[in-house]
């Protein structure tokens, strides 16, 4: 006893300045590493975001040209009924082309006039039609209206076309350049907010291509995924964690779920192709099938997150509920599940965010098709945001480059909105202390 005490007494703690300083230095170093790591991550993020924004923001503007359109009553609505069906059938191509020719009275000859029309979007006649349908009071008047330019003119206006190149290497020839400069000098060129981008689906013509189709496609797909994955995932997690007997079979199931979470997503696409399309004969390219495939893919993630959320509920709460005579089921539904809900929501959102960004499995079930209509239901052909980005990134036109970045921005905004919703939901649930 005394020997032990003597031994311990002979070993004094080393409280020297040098040792203490070394200890603080180690801590300082560690903090510094942390700061450097975070700084590097932030820098990468900043570079990524700023390049995307720098490349993409111009897609939110579209070059428009002012045209003096004569909305001739005798052409549009000779009988004066203002019947929308009559109005929709009128010869707007004639009206709009006349307005174009009037702007350049000096241009004659078939070839030149045809080139002149190419300054404008092929959507021109429909733009004029939409104006009339939206406001029939225009009929019988002559009005200066802003219409979309062709994509090449848009690029020229945004400075993406080098005028110093020889004409043969340029998308816009000298003739068109001259016409553009004349319009510009007259104040007839302006870059306005690109509503088309947010109100249409894909198109071969960049100036008519929009993101709304893909956005709706993504929303419908995710809706299908959520509707399947949340109830199934939560029930599976609750059953496995709270009710299933612990034996070989449940161990096997657990191992399988963990493995499924690591299976490459394209495999789920192949599964979807084989099962949903070939066996069940569900429609190709449809958000229904996309949602089913993504549900299969995200289910393991959500079950795993759900189980750990359930595990994190203190056993004392279960005992308290059982102690006042609550049944097992009541204990779970009244106490354990509400407490685990925030964690389950987090897991679900992580899974959904993963699903939102997923491309590969959707390619397998045909959601990569070129689709010009905005899907109206989960069985319509549709595409989704990441696939749209992939398609545009592949397109040769210069104007699609900026649309690719703009689409990425929309995807990021969607993601942020989803996460925000998750945080709000979690806050709401956590307010039960």
């Amino acid at each position: 006893m005394t020997d032990a005490a003597a031994l311990l007494a002979s070993k004094r703690p080393d409280l020297s300045r040098a040792r203490i300083n070394r200890r603080y230095a180690a801590e300082k170093r560690f903090r510094l590493y942390g700061l450097i790591a975070i700084g590097a991550a932030m820098l990468m993020l900043a570079i990524l975001l700023s390049t995307i924004v720098a490349k993409g923001y111009s897609a939110f503007l579209q070059t428009h040209i002012a045209l003096d359109v004569t909305f001739d009553q005798s052409v549009i609505d000779p009988e004066g009924t203002r019947n929308p069906q009559t109005l929709a059938r009128a010869d707007y191509r004639g009206i709009s082309r006349e307005a174009v020719r009037d702007t350049f009275p000096e241009v004659t000859g078939r070839r030149d006039t045809r080139n002149l029309y190419k300054l404008f979007s092929t959507d021109l006649e429909f733009e004029v039609m939409r104006m009339v349908l939206a406001d029939p009071a225009l009929i019988g008047t002559t009005k200066r209206v802003w219409v979309k330019s062709a994509a090449d003119i848009d690029m020229l206006s945004k400075g993406y076309i080098n005028r110093d190149l020889p004409q043969a290497d340029r998308r816009v020839n000298d003739q068109a350049l001259g016409w553009y400069d004349k319009l510009d000098a007259e104040g007839r060129v302006s870059r306005l907010f690109n509503t088309t981008f947010f109100t249409t689906a894909d198109s071969r013509e960049p100036e008519q291509a929009g993101i709304l189709g893909a956005l709706v496609g993504s929303a419908l797909t995710l809706l299908v995924t959520l509707v399947i994955v949340f109830p199934v995932g939560v029930s599976a997690a609750v059953y496995l964690e709270e009710f299933a007997p612990k034996n070989k079979w449940t161990d096997l199931i657990e191992v399988n779920i963990n493995n499924l979470a690591a299976v490459p997503s394209i495999v789920f696409g192949l599964l979807g192709l084989a099962v949903f399309l070939n066996f069940f004969g569900l429609p190709r390219s449809a958000p229904l099938v996309g949602g089913l495939v993504l549900a299969l893919m995200t289910l393991p993630t959500i079950i795993i997150a759900g189980r750990s959320a359930l595990k994190a509920v203190p056993p004392s709460i279960r005992e308290a509920a059982l102690g006042v005579g609550a049944s097992h089921m009541q204990t779970v539904t009244h106490h354990v599940l509400p407490l685990a809900m925030p964690g389950m929501l987090t897991g679900t959102i992580i899974g959904m965010a993963q699903a939102l960004g997923e491309t590969a499995p959707l390619l397998m079930i045909g959601m990569v098709a070129f689709i010009v209509d905005i899907p109206g239901s989960i069985t319509d052909a549709a595409t989704v945001l990441p696939v749209q980005i992939y398609l545009w990134a592949d397109a040769p036109e210069r104007a699609f480059v900026e649309r690719t970045s703009a689409a990425i921005l929309v995807l990021l905004a969607f993601l942020i909105a989803m996460n925000l919703a998750a945080i709000l939901l979690r806050k709401k649930f956590e307010r039960r202390w």
């Binding site: 005992e319 308290a320 102690g323 006042v324 005579g325 609550a326 009244h334 106490h335």
Partner: protein, 266 residues
């Protein structure tokens, strides 16, 4: 009634037997945590279970409301008879049983809900109140009986978890008595509390004795002496000795009991 006043023998003998355990043993898998326990608990009495850590006190207590059913791999043998019925027989529903045999745990564990909902939860799931007024009455009288009413009557909708430790434990007692149990089990209810809160709970236990049969596990021999009329000493999974609290503490029969109460084992 004063706490340190010894309880006279006639009072102890008169009351009826409420719970009677015979040959109770518990296995956790292969491990035999409790062997051959025979003991009776009488009405209007507080029985203390004492003994060193790990001797099986909690295990035994949890047999009395079949809480051990919820533990994987736990097996109970023997019989425990409550009011003439073996609670381990097939026709007894453990959920119903737990409404009749309430439990208070070592660490206060209020639900993360309002004080009102903490008390009201049990009565609600057992359909004890048909309307709000009845529920209000149950909540109020439970809190009054647990001596908490005056402290919380103005903040019934505040979280139960926001109370102090001692108040939380009294809330848990109120929650237990709200479902009108006949027996209340308490597993070291004061071990997480300061001396003042402990004194309040002890006082409360003594009052509750009028209406309930109480079994309390405690580490503190002073507490056992203060609150209980009967005491049972457990050691290494065996019930070594039981008797009137007076007798156990002044004149124990078994050497192990003697060693424990004098502080030589424990």
């Amino acid at each position: 009634m004063s706490l340190d006043q010894p309880v006279n023998d006639s009072e102890i003998m008169e009351t009826e037997i409420k719970v009677s355990a015979r040959g109770v043993g518990v296995f956790y898998g292969e491990a035999n945590a409790l062997r051959d326990v025979d003991i009776d608990f009488r009405q209007h009495q507080v029985t203390s279970l004492i003994g060193p850590s790990g001797c099986g006190k909690s295990t035994f207590l949890r047999c009395l409301n079949r809480m051990n059913d919820t533990v994987d791999g736990c097996r109970v043998v023997g019989s425990i008879v409550l009011d003439g019925q073996n609670i381990y027989s097939k026709d007894v529903d453990p959920v119903e049983l737990r409404a009749r045999v309430g439990m208070v745990f070592q660490k206060p564990n209020p639900f993360p809900k309002s004080i009102y909902d903490n008390i009201g939860y049990g009565p609600r799931i057992h359909g004890m109140a048909t309307n709000k007024t009845e529920m209000d009455e149950i909540v109020e009288s439970s809190l009054k009986l647990a001596g908490l009413w005056d402290e919380v009557k103005d903040r019934l909708d505040e979280p139960g978890t926001g109370l102090s430790g001692g108040q939380q434990q009294r809330l848990c007692i109120a929650r237990a008595i709200a479902v009108a149990p006949e027996v209340i089990l308490m597993d070291e209810p004061c071990s997480a509390l300061d001396p003042i809160a402990t004194a309040k709970i002890e006082e409360l236990i003594d009052e509750l004795r009028q209406n309930y049969t109480i079994v309390i596990v405690t580490h503190s021999m002073q507490q056992a002496a203060r609150v209980s009329q009967r005491t049972a000493f457990f050691h290494l999974g065996n019930l070594v000795e039981q008797g009137d609290t007076e007798q156990i503490f002044t004149n124990p029969v078994d050497d192990r009991t003697q060693s424990y109460i004098t502080g030589r084992i424990g």
